[in-house]
Each structure stands twice: as structure tokens, then as C-alpha cells.
């Protein structure tokens, strides 16, 4: 049975800061017993699978690496209405995905949650590597407390 709220971590932990969503979900999952009405999901790079994870929820909180023209390590909370995608999709393969495009499709299909909140974290580096760069690693606790605040909101 799905909980009314879902927190999704997106990204690839083998591409350094690109995996921030997954690293944060690992930490959040350890706190899951304190949040019985919340599901924490490592959605990796599953693309459109996000559609099914958010379907039927009241609220979806998405954590993802994001180019936002900010300093590395900056976290910003926003909704899909606050931004437009600067990503050019080649439409060549299923292996490219744009969260905003997926959310738009969910809306079109009438299966979007009432509320979607995105936490974007500006990367310092996106390169083949395990582990996060210092700019993000030193802010992990800040990220966690901001996301937990959202759960208490």
C-alpha cells in the first residue's frame, strides 16, 4: 500500500555529485521508522518509472542534482511552476530523461500528485567517480534538515 507522501532520490552515484539524490535517500531511509506515512525511494536513473512512483500520492518530494546557475553545493527548493527546463532532449532514446517532462506527462495523464516539491542541488563536478565532492559532502546535514522540514510542513 502506498503512503500519501513519497520522497524520491534521483541520480547516479557512480557519477560523483550527480548521485546526490541517491546518497540523501540512503541517509533518509535510515530515518524511515520515524515517518510511517512516507515512502523513501531510490529511483536512480529509471526515467519514466518516476511516473508510477508518484502516482496516487498526495505529495511528492524529489531530490536531484540540478544545474541552476548557482554556486556548487547550493540547495534550492522549488516547484515545477517555478522553473522551465533548459535541457534539450534528443528524443533518441529512453535513456535520456527530464523530470519536468515526466511531471508534465503525469499531469497530462491526470496522475500527478496534488503537490510536487523539488530540492535541486548544484553539483561541483559530474564525472565518473564514486563519492561526492567536498562542496556537497560538507552540507549533507543541511540538506537533510531542509528536507525533513519539508516533511513536517
Amino acid at each position: 500500500m502506498k503512503n500519501p507522501v513519497v520522497v524520491l532520490g534521483l541520480g547516479n552515484p557512480l557519477m560523483a555529485d550527480e548521485g546526490i539524490g541517491v546518497y540523501l535517500i540512503e541517509r533518509l531511509t535510515k530515518l524511515a521508522p520515524e515517518y510511517p506515512n512516507v515512502d523513501f525511494v531510490d529511483a536512480g536513473t529509471g526515467g519514466l518509472s518516476v511516473l508510477h512512483v508518484i502516482e496516487g500520492r498526495r505529495k511528492a518530494i524529489v531530490i536531484d542534482c540540478a544545474f541552476m546557475d548557482e554556486e556548487p553545493g547550493v540547495i534550492r527548493r522549488f516547484t515545477p511552476h517555478d522553473v522551465r527546463s533548459a535541457k534539450v532532449l534528443a528524443h533518441q532514446s529512453l535513456h535520456e530523461a527530464d523530470l519536468l517532462h515526466i511531471l508534465n506527462l503525469a499531469k497530462q495523464l491526470d496522475q500527478a500528485p496534488e503537490q510536487v516539491v523539488i530540492f535541486g542541488i548544484q553539483p561541483e563536478q559530474v564525472v565518473p567517480s564514486t563519492g561526492l565532492s567536498a562542496a556537497l559532502l560538507t552540507r549533507m546535514n543541511t540538506y537533510l534538515s531542509q528536507i525533513l522540514c519539508e516533511l513536517h510542513a
Binding site: L14, E18, T45, F78, S85
Partner: protein, 435 residues
């Protein structure tokens, strides 16, 4: 005829390396036709070196979010091959059942999300969802079923966690399999509806053909339409090649126009994927899947790459039908928990599984403690690059008179038909704030 045709579909970004399409023609004369692939180097091979044999399948599952089960299965098979680990019949069947879930979700999504908008004349699935909501909803329902089916057997939708060398950490219950079987039975009308919808616009599938070598797995004993067992087969020869000898098939080489290695066997190029599997094994499709192939006039020996999407539709039906049979066999035998006991040892071995987009090879070497000392991965899309280039060279002169826009669209459709996996390691957001 247009005097000049210049197509430059350029998608290179620093991280997400999509292929570029370049065509230059003047006065009806083709000067340049190129499929350029700036694919990232194979850094995953370096990432698994030094890691324990127990961790390989977890790392490689992150290579690709769409084919994560296939990568994990291929790695697990390679590890088991390297260390001489035997599989129980139950593990084998559950793994194949798990793998079918990925075939279904990938195939329906590829056809519904990327190919159908082309055929219906829409730029993407979003406007298609507005105009033909029933078809898109059927695709999404099938994709959701594939996701939940993966969840049940792999532990989660993407990046599986139940696979370990020697077995599985979790076995489904009989009740779960009975429920899954019911859902598979119930999804057939959706599959047929999607096939009918694609058939209604099948006239938009370009009638392009080029003699091609098709390579896939083939299982002779017992004969079956295989994604998992068997040896490497080609439409250009009768025999098969053992999985451990896969490099005698791929013959990788460096092309000037790509940082991804290209491959060739009996000809200058070969193709892998659903159409390759169909051309090598089509006679073994289950009856309902054969009916779908027949609806579209797809027959063995087909050399129209655009028909790969039709072969995917037939395979989507096949994996659902084959899964019902597998579930019945598992239930008849009874499911039991099996202990996994593996002692690491030195060795080298390969694994091969058919990803939705074609044959995938992994090879690993381990020291006596079971730590990885060497890795080699050859993905299906890498094996298709040379073939896409050869298709371009024949196709462009045939469509040049249709003008620049048509050439661009048809070449993009051709690339899409191969269901490429050109960028799967990163999916991050790139946003501009508007308020």
C-alpha cells in the same frame, strides 16, 4: 529536387553524449553522411576493478536505469562462469522471469513513447497523450505492470538488489506469483490495443531495406526464443559461437567518427536487437506473439531496421505469454528458500544476456580472493553504431529528393528504431527559474 540539403542534428553536451547526424548534399550529390557518436569512455570497467565478486552486479546495475536488470544478470552470469558456480533450476527460472519484466517495460515504452509519436505525426508523447489518450494510457499501464513485476522479483524497479552470485536473496511466494500471473493474463488486451494502434499508422513506417547481418543469442537445446540462454548466432552462418568467445564476434575497432568502439563480424557491420532475435529465432515465438508479427507482415529475413519496433511489439507479447508458462512451472514444482553458498576462487569468465536493445557481453577476471582484476563490457548500442552508419549511407540517397526536413526526420526515426542506449549514466535537471 532541392539543390542543397544540410542536416546537422547536434546533441553533444559535455556529459550526455547523444549521437549527431550530419548530412551534406549539393545538387543532389551526397558529400557527407555521418552518424557521430561521442559516447563516454567505458569508465565502469575501471570502477569494478579491485571490487569483490559480490559487489559487481550492484555497481554495473547503475550503468543504465532502463537495462539495469540485464546488466546485473549479465554480470552475475559472468561471475558464476568465472568461478564455476552452478545454478538451481528455480533460480534460473526466477531470474528469467525477472528479466522478462524489463523486456516488457522497455519495449512498450520504446514503441509507445518514442516510436508512436513519429508514426502518428507528433513531436513527442505529450501531445500524443492529448490526442490519443487511450493508447498512451495503455502503454503507461503496461509499463507500470513491468515496473511492479520488477519490484516483486528484483527487490525494486530499477537497480536490482535480489541478485547475487550463486542465487537470489529473496524468492517470491506462490501467492505473489499467482497474483502476477493474473495480471499478466489481464494485460493482454492492452498489448493487443497498442499493437492495433501502431498497425493503424504502420503505413508511416519507411519501406527501407538493406541486406544486414543480424546477431543474437540462439538456443537449440531445447529450441526456444531466447533472451538468456544459448550461444551467439548470426544470420550469416549456421553454427554458433560460445559465449566465452564473444570477442571473435564483436571484433571491436576504433572509428574516426566515434569515441565509442564499433564492431563487425562477417560484413562491415552487424545489427543486434529485437529484429536480430526475431531473424534468428522467430519460428520459436509463442502463438500470440507470432500473430502480432503476422499482423504487420513481419517475416524472418526482414532487413528493414524500422521493423525493429514491430519485433519489439511481438516480443512484448511473447515475454508475457512465456512468463505465464514459467510461473506455472515454478508453482508446479513448489517454491523453496535456497541457501547461497559460494567460495571465491580465481578465474575468468563471460556472461551474455539479451538486453531489450540487443546482445550484451560482460567479462570479468578475479584473483583467488574473488577481487576483480579485469573487466570488459560490450553494450548492444555500441554494436549497432557501424550498422546505423551503413544504413545512413544507403538511405540518404534514396530520400534526398524529399528535402531537408524529411531527411532529418527519417534519419532521426532510423536512429530511434535501433532503440539506442547512448546516454544513460546521468539524468540531472537543468533549469532556469521563471519566478
Amino acid at each position: 529536387m532541392p539543390k542543397t540539403v544540410n542536416v546537422n542534428v547536434h546533441h553533444v553536451t559535455r556529459i550526455e553524449g547523444h549521437g549527431n547526424i550530419v548530412v551534406n548534399a549539393t545538387n543532389g550529390k551526397v558529400e557527407k553522411v555521418q552518424w557521430q557518436v561521442p559516447e563516454a569512455p567505458r569508465f565502469f570497467e575501471a570502477m569494478v576493478r579491485g571490487r569483490s565478486y559480490q559487489d559487481i552486479q550492484t555497481v554495473v546495475s547503475r550503468i543504465c536505469g532502463i537495462c539495469s536488470i540485464t546488466h546485473s544478470l549479465t554480470a552475475t552470469k559472468a561471475v558464476e562462469n568465472a568461478m564455476g558456480i552452478e545454478m538451481s533450476e528455480q533460480t534460473d527460472k526466477v531470474r528469467i522471469l525477472m528479466h522478462y519484466s524489463e523486456q516488457l517495460q522497455s519495449h512498450v515504452l520504446h514503441v509507445g513513447y518514442l516510436v508512436a509519436p513519429d508514426l502518428f505525426g507528433f513531436p513527442s508523447v505529450v501531445p500524443l497523450a492529448a490526442k490519443a489518450p487511450d493508447v498512451v494510457k495503455a502503454v503507461i499501464r503496461l509499463h507500470r505492470l513491468g515496473n511492479e513485476w520488477s519490484d516483486l522479483l528484483a527487490g525494486r524497479t530499477t537497480h536490482p538488489v535480489t541478485l547475487v552470485p550463486g542465487g537470489l536473496t529473496k524468492v517470491p511466494t506462490a501467492q505473489q506469483l499467482i497474483e502476477l500471473r493474473g495480471r499478466l493474463e489481464a494485460c493482454v488486451p492492452d498489448l493487443v490495443a497498442v499493437a492495433q494502434a501502431v498497425l493503424s499508422v504502420a503505413g508511416s513506417i519507411p519501406a527501407f531495406t538493406r541486406e544486414t547481418e543480424y546477431i543474437s543469442l540462439r538456443q537449440d537445446s531445447p529450441p526456444a526464443y531466447t533472451f538468456y540462454h544459448g550461444e551467439i548466432a548470426s544470420t550469416d552462418c549456421d553454427g554458433t559461437v560460445a559465449v566465452n568467445d564473444w570477442k571473435t564476434v564483436t571484433n571491436e575497432y576504433v572509428s574516426d567518427q566515434s569515441t565509442a568502439k564499433w564492431t563487425k563480424w562477417h560484413r562491415d557491420s552487424y545489427a543486434v536487437g529485437a529484429l536480430a532475435r526475431f531473424n534468428n529465432n522467430g519460428q520459436h515465438l509463442l502463438p500470440l506473439a507470432k500473430d502480432v508479427a503476422k499482423m504487420f507482415g513481419l517475416q524472418k529475413g526482414c532487413c528493414n531496421p524500422f521493423m525493429n519496433s514491430v519485433a519489439q511489439l511481438a516480443e512484448a507479447v511473447h515475454v508475457v505469454e512465456a512468463s505465464k508458462i514459467l510461473i506455472d512451472e515454478l508453482l508446479t514444482k513448489g517454491l523453496k528458500e535456497e541457501k547461497v553458498r559460494v567460495s571465491p576462487k580465481a578465474g575468468k569468465g563471460s556472461g551474455c544476456v539479451e538486453a531489450p536493445r540487443g546482445i550484451l557481453f560482460h567479462e570479468y577476471e578475479f584473483d583467488r580472493r574473488g577481487n576483480c582484476v579485469g573487466a570488459d563490457i560490450c553494450i548492444p548500442t555500441g554494436q549497432n553504431h557501424a550498422n546505423i552508419q551503413k544504413d545512413f549511407e544507403k538511405f540518404v540517397p534514396e530520400i534526398l529528393s524529399e528535402g531537408e526536413d524529411a531527411v532529418r526526420l527519417k534519419l532521426e526515426m532510423l536512429v530511434r528504431a535501433y532503440d539506442p542506449c547512448v546516454s544513460c549514466s546521468t539524468h540531472m535537471l537543468n533549469v532556469q527559474f521563471v519566478r
